[in-house]
């Protein structure tokens, strides 16, 4: 007997497949549609014919398009994303070596953003109309108006160069050396996290304000409970829609990490992506985009599942 939550997750997975398919087909198609011979585009017109032929074979250009796609997908599911002609390494290997870095960075941003947003949102809502709220709102507005890469540069200038407290570039895995790892992730994490924090703060504030007007809170008061309990009830309820926003923001974090990796010279997947674009390494591009998409679809499903779980009306009887 499948619980409603499980049924829901299965439905979401089924939704995810077409999305992944759509994305991979689109990338696949777009790359093939690039005007001119992709091999020439990648290697240049004056590359030796054998190399061109090799690339064409690698890309499977001689096969009909659908076959190419199916081949690609079957390989991809097994973990083989092709071989980059530019770096001469397996795409999956390149990605795998960089993935943890990007994940750490994204997680750092996530952590920073929630650390700022939750207190800020709560304080803003409880002090509505007063200066604290104004600060929160202003921060929120500014947060969505400052491009994250510029914020990173400013932080770099201030803390890295002027004050020289934190490193300006590079990365150390927190697994290898936690202290150093955190030092290297601090500025990038703050940069990534701030914009998301602004969005989440705004959302939390508005949801909480709405929730605090609800009638059932009066019922809680009439039990003789403290105002803190009342607030706890309201916050718990207000969080449910905020969870979805947080999940959506993860997408932003993933995208933002690409830029932040550039700003702070962090060797993650984002760098791989940019390099691939610059060197027209379409095989790598395909693979990297596919991996990003998969991550992002996975997070979406988890978030939707969490929302479903938290909302008893949807959850129903188990």
């Amino acid at each position: 007997m499948v619980s409603r939550l499980q049924a829901f997750l299965i439905r979401r997975l089924l939704w995810a497949l077409p999305v992944l398919a759509l994305v991979s087909v689109t990338i696949f198609g777009l790359i093939r549609l690039v005007p001119g011979d992709p091999a020439i585009v990648m290697l240049g017109a004056d590359a030796p014919p054998e190399q061109l032929a090799a690339v064409r074979a690698e890309l499977g250009l001689n096969e009909p398009l659908p076959v190419q796609y199916v081949d690609y997908v079957t390989d991809a599911v097994q973990g083989d994303l092709g071989r980059s002609y530019v770096t001469d390494r397996a795409v999956s290997a390149s990605i795998a070596s960089r993935l943890p870095t990007t994940l750490f960075l994204t997680f750092a941003g996530f952590l920073v953003s929630l650390t700022i947003a939750i207190p800020a949102g709560l304080l803003s809502a409880t002090n509505r109309g007063e200066w604290l709220d104004g600060v929160g709102l202003g921060f929120g507005l500014l947060g969505v108006s400052i491009p994250n890469f510029w914020l990173g540069i400013l932080l770099l200038l201030l803390f890295g160069v002027n004050l020289d407290w934190l490193p300006v570039a590079g990365y150390v895995s927190p697994l290898a050396d936690p202290i150093a790892g955190i030092r290297y992730l601090l500025l990038p994490g703050i940069t990534l996290g701030t914009a998301m924090a602004a969005v989440v703060t705004r959302m939390l504030r508005s949801e909480l304000l709405e929730e605090l007007r609800r009638e059932y809170l009066n019922a809680v008061r009439m039990k003789g409970t403290s105002e803190l309990r009342v607030f706890a009830h309201a916050t718990k309820n207000a969080f449910i829609p905020v969870v979805t926003v947080i999940g959506m923001q993860f997408g932003y974090l993933l995208g933002g990490s690409v830029v932040i990796e550039q700003v702070f010279s962090i060797p993650g997947m984002g760098r791989l992506l940019i390099d691939a674009i610059g060197s027209r390494d379409y095989i790598m591009l395909q693979g990297v985009v596919l991996v990003y998409t998969t991550f992002f679809v996975a997070v979406n499903i988890v978030v939707d599942g969490a929302y479903f779980y938290l909302n008893p009306k949807l959850r129903g009887e188990e």
Binding site: Y216, K223, E317
Partner: protein
Amino acid sequence: MADSHTATDERVAATSDDQPLLRVENLRTTFGRREPLVAVDGIGYDLRAGETLGIVGESGAGKSVSVRSLVGLIDEGEVEGSVEWRGEELIDASGRTLRSVRGSGIGMVFQNAESAFDPTETVGAQIVEAVRASRDLSKREARAEAVDLLEEVGIGDPAGRFDDYPHEYSGGMAQRAVIAMALAGEPDLLIADEPTTGLDVSVQAGIVDLFRELVAEREMSLLLISHDLGVVSQLCSRIMVMYAGRIVERGSRKQLLGSPRHPYTQAFLRSVPDVDERRDLEPIGGSPPDLADPPAGCRFHPRCPAAEAGLCDGAAPPTVRFADGDTATDADADCHEATCYAYTEAHPGGDDYDRSAVESIEWNEGVEE
């Protein structure tokens, strides 16, 4: 079953038969600052132990606001006047005082499950929260108590229902659960704010019966708000009629239903179906007044068949006491009163306004409008 009620026990001993459980004096609730809206305009009444008092009136008459003002639930408005619970002042009281009175002294039944329950917690958990807020019980004891309460209000399979969410309860059952939660603190006064509104008529009857049983068995006082006169007349021995923030008539059930004195009460009764008598319904003409800019003098005069220009639109009407006979005591709280000019000398009067029934008239002292 020995339960512990801390401070309330002492106060029970202190209350004598003479002192009312609840004394409301000149309660006034105002909203808004630039254009103040007076939702409750100086009402007062007494409620004694074991008494059942009903407040009826149209929507917007201020009934709900007035009871919320009693227990400090008015957030965006200002409450003035005096509300004494067992001699202790509740208006502007400290948080601690209010908390000790809520739940164990005064319980409130809200209009429906959506207004009373947190949708993300089980009903049982929320009743347990109510129990433990007022009584010193362990989690297990509280849970058992909650299940008992669910059973007491007539919910079948209470142990099973304990773990259900509010949206899984049907309308009538949910209302019973709301009542159970209000009883959790073992209150001496139960305030019920429109408890049957929105329920099917057949379900309503069950709820009314439930209230009756509970009031009898638990020896509670009941303050019932409703626009449904039928419900109020079934449960309340005394009734007050509110209009536009003021009490226009008060008396025993028999007095009010048998010989309504205020034109509004008379009109109200005519607009409601009567089970016994077959007659046409007469809706009350006009619409309720704008409380931000209410009519001068008697608030009802624009819609009143007996309105006299120059009299009813001047100062607030006097309080007319009627000698209806058959009152249990001579106390002020048991009298039959209406605020109306129609019973005064200056008014031409009429068939509906029997001046011979008047016992005394108390005029206001230059009340500002």
